[in-house]
Symmetry: C2
Subunit: 217 residues, 2 copies
């Protein structure tokens, strides 16, 4: 059972610790405030009070037995950066840190964080993408002659750019998104390279969509 440390039990850290425990990790949750530790201790393997900017306290908490640590101190950038430095000094293998600003993120990267997350920024982007896609769907609901399709990229399209493929000119269809891995990408630049396994989300009149499907098989 893999051991994972979560430092900082604000909204982000607490949700992360609880979810990791649900997924089967052995979670060591640390915060300097007793109340935050008390309110999580029944949901994780071990919850400890410690000031994580202090090497001795952090070591005593048992963090060195974790190969991955999620550092979730957001508001107090100095505490976050100092804790990151201590963790790297201890040789923690994989450090994921949450940043509360671009500068904060750059400091964490410089100190050696392997992965930096920006929860508010990332969720804001996702929401904007979702609103954009649903406004496209709304338009389609009111236009029976138009439809939206998701199709695997045509044979030979991997490694080419949207500009090369020029579907808009050839078929009068609009590529509104690409599903790649678990994501739907909606800001498409004409120089973006398509990848094997991509799926195109295309919008157009029904006859043109058919023509595209048939001619690119």
């Amino acid at each position: 059972k893999q051991r994972i440390g979560v430092i900082g039990l604000g909204k982000f850290g607490r949700s992360c610790a609880i979810r990791l425990a649900e997924l089967g990790f052995e979670v060591l949750a640390i915060d300097e405030m007793q109340c935050n530790v008390d309110s999580i201790k029944d949901m994780v393997a071990l919850a400890v009070v410690a000031d994580t900017t202090d090497f001795a306290e952090l070591e005593a908490a048992g963090i060195t037995s974790c190969d991955t640590v999620v550092l979730a101190i957001g508001a107090e950038i100095d505490h976050s950066v100092l804790t990151a430095a201590v963790l790297k000094e201890m040789g923690i293998h994989h450090l994921v840190a949450r940043a509360s600003s671009d500068l904060h993120g750059r400091l964490l990267k410089r100190i050696g964080a392997d992965d930096v997350v920006f929860p508010e920024h990332d969720m804001a982007i996702r929401l904007a993408n979702r609103l954009s896609l649903s406004s496209i769907y709304d338009f389609l609901e009111s236009s029976p002659d138009y439809d939206i399709l998701e199709v695997p990229i045509p044979r030979g399209a991997a490694g080419k750019t949207l500009r090369d493929l020029d579907y808009r000119a050839r078929f009068e269809i609009n590529v509104v998104g690409i599903r790649r891995g678990g994501e739907v990408l909606v800001t498409l630049h004409s120089d973006d390279l398509l990848e094997a396994g991509d799926r195109l989300i295309i919008l157009g009149s029904v006859p043109n969509l058919h023509r595209f499907a048939i001619q690119t098989r």
Copy 2:
């Protein structure tokens, strides 16, 4: 061009407003602090200073021309909830609101928010899911006899539960995730119903994966 309002230009609101503008929306960005309005006004259609808890000020800002409003006031729950009430009173069609706690979210729902987002909570869950999947992949890297596959759900599996299908007993494989829409779901309960279009992410020994693929075609 669809008009969308974003109220509150903290990390979440600002990122959202900028991204919506990139996606082609006509964005009206509002905040009570001049500095937040100034630092965004070159990136959105219109940026206005207003106290959004005040009906008259909010109306003067032009919010009623927006059919969708993103309410991104997080820390000041009273301002957020009051603004939500004013927006519903004005008849805003679609209100998406960011909440900073469970209680905040329930209040917003009660007031009539159509959609409530919890950026820190949601990103924390995503991070935990990602760490879980990558620990599965790490295990696989060190076990050449095991592999992980993503396959469309077998014929006839839609509408059934994992318990009904019982792949673990029949094929000794483990369903570690389901890709549905743009998401990879990793907490799987035996009573979850599979849906048409789902893809299973399965883990097992190579011979058993082959047996599964062949026998469920």
